[in-house]
């Protein structure tokens, strides 16, 4: 298990009422699951139809960056974590 820092932005931050926290997990999925367990309001913002699917799927508009690298370029939710990794969870911001 790795100890990682999670940073929340935009409406995720508002819903959780916190900007960052320390969590542990083996991969990105573990970290996001313990995040949404702690802050259930985030579940529907991060995962696609959480009540219907057995294996969690990340919403297509959510971006998770590990130390500045988008996990969609890595192994997605299966990407392994190391101690001191910083995860930024970014909801869609695309208006202009």
């Amino acid at each position: 298990m790795a100890e990682v820092k999670i940073k929340l932005f935009a409406n995720l931050r508002e819903k959780a009422g916190i900007s960052e926290l320390q969590l542990s997990g083996e991969n990105v999925l573990d970290a996001l699951l313990s995040l949404t367990e702690k802050y259930p309001d985030l579940k529907s913002l991060i995962f696609e139809k959480p009540e219907e699917s057995e294996t969690p799927v990340m919403c297509s508009s959510i971006n998770v960056l590990i130390n500045g690298n988008n996990v969609r370029h890595l192994e997605g939710l299966d990407t392994l974590l190391s101690d001191t990794d910083e995860l930024a969870v970014l909801p869609p911001v695309s208006g202009g």
């Binding site: 940073k7 932005f9 935009a10 409406n11 931050r13 508002e14 900007s19 297509s60 508009s61 971006n63 960056l65 130390n67 500045g68 690298n69 988008n70 969609r72 370029h73 910083e86 930024a88 869609p92 911001v93 695309s94 208006g95 202009g96």
Partner: protein
Amino acid sequence: MNDFEREKYNRQILLFGEEGQEKLKNAKVLVAGAGGLGSPVSTYLAIAGVGKIILADFDSVDPSNLNRQFLHHEKDIGRLKVESAKEKLLSMNPDISVETIAEMLTESNLEALVPECDVIVDALDNLETRHMLNRLAIKRRIPLIHGAVTGYDGQVTTIVPGETPCFYCIFPRISRKEVFPVLGVTPGIIGSIQANEAIKFLTGQGKLLEGRLLFWNGLSGNFSEISLSKLNNCPVCGYLSKETENK
């Protein structure tokens, strides 16, 4: 530069000299989008004396634009945004020129429609066109200043081809365009930062938001930022990194 221009730009000539002002005068900037972000971006570039502003937007003014898109007034409803914006920008500063592109930018017309320019400012409202502009900026090797907003939140980063991650490195996915909530102040803040980045780049002042994604949250009144990393072998910008390594 004539005496009136020296007087008009006096307060910023104190910052970067007549030399800097000449650089702005000779600059050409594409502002993609004449809406919420495009209003503050093009206004600040115009009154700073950026010689040529190329404004691209295919849309017409709608009542729902008026809470934030301050270049458009009630009397402009139904008018092409680029025409409405051009009129206001030239009224603020008749010494600059404003070119307009009123066609929708597509993969096939982008190259031909966008004339040569020094920097591109992303004041768009959708991810698809952002990816197209990113590819154009990488191909032409000119900076792309990304900005986006929703609600009370906004983000900015400056993409320098070959130096920083490109838009695809950061946000590979395209999600569909949606009606988003927004307070006019949010694009006001983000667009002002984008104009600041463009002016810094053009005059060679300060440190750009390179490889840094800056976030603004209006509800808490906080800025925060994260560092970004380049994608190895990025299909869009990867070849530029290789060129740099081989030098």
